[in-house]
């Protein structure tokens, strides 16, 4: 089943660790992501993009407004909405295979055997995270999240720390994993937080530009080019998004 995500008037403030100062991160976010849609959220760094993901994941609670998933208010962490952390957050004491089967094992289900192959991880099952390159680590993080088969996949700069080549490869892997679901099963709803306009334009159905802190939705761009996309042909929309990000 695929589910939509809505944020209505969502505000969030956090207390800064050093100073004890209250910082407004989100100043009323209104956003609807349709079931099976891939939406990218872009904006200047430190603007609260990650906070949006943590709210949808149920790891944070909104101070005001409402976060809903499939029409039901989000009240906490759940396996229906899985977050892929920026650095992967792999369990370093578990092998690649043990990391990926963590979710299925916790739920008492078998692992979808096609997953390892789809993410190019065949042959690396017995390795520990310390033995993997950054790109491989993020493949494992992606596989570990997909193995839970969530309705909503939340991606927090998943390829931000990678070199250009691995980044491009993993974007392809992610797109394929998402498209794969189209035939037969319902496609997953995905929210991708990124600072790369190019990445957003390549992958997303819609690109949401948020302002600097305290963040509001500044502008939304619909990208309806067929997939797989040639981003060089989408220069106009890329420039328009870049301008929106810079102008905040």
């Amino acid at each position: 089943m695929s589910r939509d995500v809505t944020l209505a008037g969502v505000r969030h403030a956090f207390v800064e660790a050093g100073t004890g100062r209250r910082v407004d991160a989100l100043a009323g976010i209104d956003l609807t992501i349709a079931a099976g849609e891939l939406v990218a959220v872009v904006g200047p760094s430190g603007c609260g993009k990650t906070t949006i993901l943590h709210l949808v994941a149920g790891m944070l609670t909104a101070d005001a407004g409402e976060v809903r998933c499939g029409g039901t208010p989000v009240t906490g962490i759940g396996t229906d909405r899985v977050l892929v952390f920026q650095d992967g957050a792999l369990f370093p004491w578990l092998t690649v295979l043990e990391n990926i089967t963590f979710g299925p094992r916790a739920q008492g289900r078998p692992l979808d055997p096609a997953l390892l192959d789809a993410l190019g991880l065949t042959g690396a099952e017995a390795r520990y995270p310390k033995e993997l390159s950054g790109g491989m680590r993020q493949r494992v993080a992606l596989a570990r999240a997909l193995a839970v088969d969530p309705d909503v996949l939340l991606l927090d700069e998943p390829f931000g720390a990678l070199d250009a080549l691995s980044r491009e490869q993993l974007q392809g892997v992610l797109e394929d994993a998402w498209l794969r679901e189209g035939s037969g099963r319902a496609r997953k709803t995905m929210i991708l937080v990124t600072h790369s306009v190019e990445e957003a334009v390549r992958l997303a159905d819609r690109v949401v530009v948020v302002s600097p802190r305290p963040a509001v939705v500044r502008e939304v761009f619909v990208i309806d080019a067929p997939r797989p996309r040639d981003v060089t042909a989408l220069g106009e929309v890329r420039r328009a998004i870049g301008r929106a990000v810079r102008e905040g």
Binding site: A57, M59, I77, G78, T79, R81, V82, L83, F85, D87, A89, F91, P92, W93, L94, F102, G103, R105, A106, Q107, Y128, P129, K130, R144, A145, V148
Partner: protein
């Protein structure tokens, strides 16, 4: 071992050599000193070696008593200390209330308990094991508590997000995440367990290596006293080696 360390080891002529050199130098100094002093004051390594062989039944018997007391006390310290550390890490209320109690108790050296325990329990395995327990408990609790608190929050969030039950959360995530510090507590506790058992046996116990050393002095048998010391050192070093091997195996995932 990293490539750099291997190179450094090779440059020193192998990693085992420096360790063996130290022991050889100690033995040589001991033999030289023993040649100048009468054997009833300082017996040489040869005399002590003969005593070890001649008195092996006595040594083994007492070593078994000592090991049993350490096993009882240390086992209880691990069995109670790790869950207690988990409780302290998981509950701020328990951390405040029990934490201050532990701070107070920790300030009392385990050996200070000996007289009162002997009064209550008499001479025997029980009072020695309790002193071992008291010696080992605090470092185990303290390090494990710090270890539990040092597990990266992202890993804990990820575990819950992937649907971990409380059992999987604690056993498969929190415990391995805390393992490096848990092991540091286990080592510290082990060293204190050995010090505590010998101290307890010296003050008053029925048998054990500490008691045997004390008896040897009363019998004017320095060779037997040194043999007992060697046995204590050998057992402690060997068991520490086992602990190190277990640690290395358990933490093989570490970068």
């Amino acid at each position: 071992m990293s490539a750099t360390e291997r190179l450094a080891g090779a440059a020193l002529g192998g990693r085992r050599l420096p360790g063996a050199l130290g022991i050889a130098a100690l033995l040589a100094a001991w033999a030289l000193a023993a040649a100048r002093w009468p054997p009833h004051v300082l017996p040489g390594p040869d005399v002590v070696l003969r005593t070890v062989l001649d008195e092996r039944a006595l040594l083994l018997h007492n070593a078994a008593r000592t090991l049993w007391r350490v096993a009882l006390g240390y086992g209880a310290a691990v069995g109670i200390g790790l869950p207690l550390a988990g409780l302290l890490a998981g509950s701020p209320l328990a951390d405040r209330q029990v934490g201050s109690l532990l701070t107070l108790l920790r300030a009392i050296p385990p050996f200070a308990w000996t007289p009162i325990l002997l009064l209550w329990l008499g001479i025997g395995d029980g009072s020695a094991a309790i002193i071992v327990f008291l010696g080992a408990l605090f470092p185990i609790v303290r390090q494990a508590r710090a270890g539990f608190a040092a597990v990266p929050p992202a890993l804990l969030l990820a575990a819950r997000n992937l649907g971990a039950s409380p059992r999987i959360y604690w056993i498969d995530v929190v415990l391995p995440g805390a393992a490096p510090m848990v092991f540091s507590g286990l080592r510290l506790g082990w060293a204190l367990a050995w010090m505590s058992v010998v101290a307890a046996e010296l003050v008053g116990a029925d048998g054990g290596l500490g008691q045997m050393i004390l008896d040897a002095r009363n019998l004017a048998r320095p060779d037997l006293a040194i043999a007992g010391m060697v046995a204590i050192g050998a057992l402690a070093a060997a068991s520490e080696g086992l602990l190190t091997a277990a640690e290395r195996h358990t933490l093989r995932w570490r970068p």
